[in-house]
Amino acid sequence: MSGPRRERRKTDPALSDPERLYVITGDLDDSERAALDLVTMVVAQAEPSPTFQPEQAAILRLCQAPLSVAEISAYLSLPFSVVTSLLSDLLATELIESRAPIVRATLPDRSLLEAVMHGLQKL
């Protein structure tokens, strides 16, 4: 086949460094905010009540069962960075709990991958 051809690129150590994870977004001074991933799972630790701001109450209502940050952003129609800032406040006051995602490690975890494959097989 003719046409344009691509040229392979090398891994750039500065771009592939796992240390770089979660340290890029806007507010570098706020480590809590930077730690929230799109798939950090969030669970409410309190019932929503009229004393909360509407956004906070909405998050507490949505997160009575576990929900990812991405889903919260989608259901609230708010940008990711706005949601992470609201969640940081709720985390600081322990109104929600969060669980960081399992990220790709330098050495992939075979048992994790086997669990994923097992789940996909059932689809």
């Binding site: 051809r5 940008p79 992939p108 097992h118």
Partner: protein
């Protein structure tokens, strides 16, 4: 802030509510050029109707007019579709359909680095739109497989010819798919997981 009253917010449908045990999440990124079928693939394997998350970036304008003191700002919104698969009572897989324009990737902190891996969707009619995306994944050291979305009027090329045009190493899996079919999209994800599994074997 523009925010609807919290009473009007619709959360997940009852059948989409996750069990309280669902606290371990992993993600996979589906990346490709404009119109290659990213949203279709996310939708065909997702257990929920695909959702959209957005990020906005505001940039101060530079020297666009001579009104001293007047700052112009441009806002760019980048949207991403995503879906979800409950793999077990504890483990949830999220799939993100990400546009190929890498200049916006930085908005999604850790999206690629934190992902288990990526699926590069290609359309054989416009192979070159995926060149840059593949290069970016290589630079970041993100493992990926290449899925060839089969459009009816697309020229059919043997996989080996595509591999050469894309300059892909022999070990990078390539697979034909129809992103509209759940089983086909599932096979693509399986191919990615098997590849990641093979990488987990230490090369002695």
């Amino acid at each position: 802030m523009d925010f609807r009253s919290s009473d009007t917010i619709t959360g997940p449908r009852t059948e989409d509510v996750l069990p309280t045990t669902a606290t371990a999440a992993v993600k996979v990124v589906i990346v490709g050029g404009f119109g290659v079928g990213k949203t279709t693939m996310v939708g065909s394997v997702s257990e929920i109707r695909p959702l959209t998350t957005e990020e906005t970036m505001t940039q101060a304008g530079v020297g666009v007019d001579d009104n001293a003191g007047v700052e112009t700002k441009t806002a760019t919104t980048v949207a991403m579709d995503f879906g979800r698969i409950s793999l077990s009572e504890e483990l949830i897989l999220y799939l993100f359909g990400t546009p190929g324009q890498e200049r916006f990737w930085f908005l999604w902190n850790g999206l690629f680095e934190g992902a288990l891996g990526a699926v590069v969707l290609i359309d054989t009619r416009r192979l070159e739109v995926s060149f840059d995306v593949i290069g970016r994944l290589e630079e970041r050291g993100v493992p990926f497989v290449v899925a060839v979305n089969t459009f009816p009027d697309a020229p059919h090329h043997p996989v080996e010819a595509l591999r050469r045009a894309l300059d892909l190493p022999d070990e990078v899996p390539m697979i034909d798919c129809d992103a509209r079919l759940r089983a086909s999209s599932r096979d693509v994800l399986m191919t990615l997981m098997r590849y990641l599994h093979s990488l987990a074997v230490p090369l002695a």
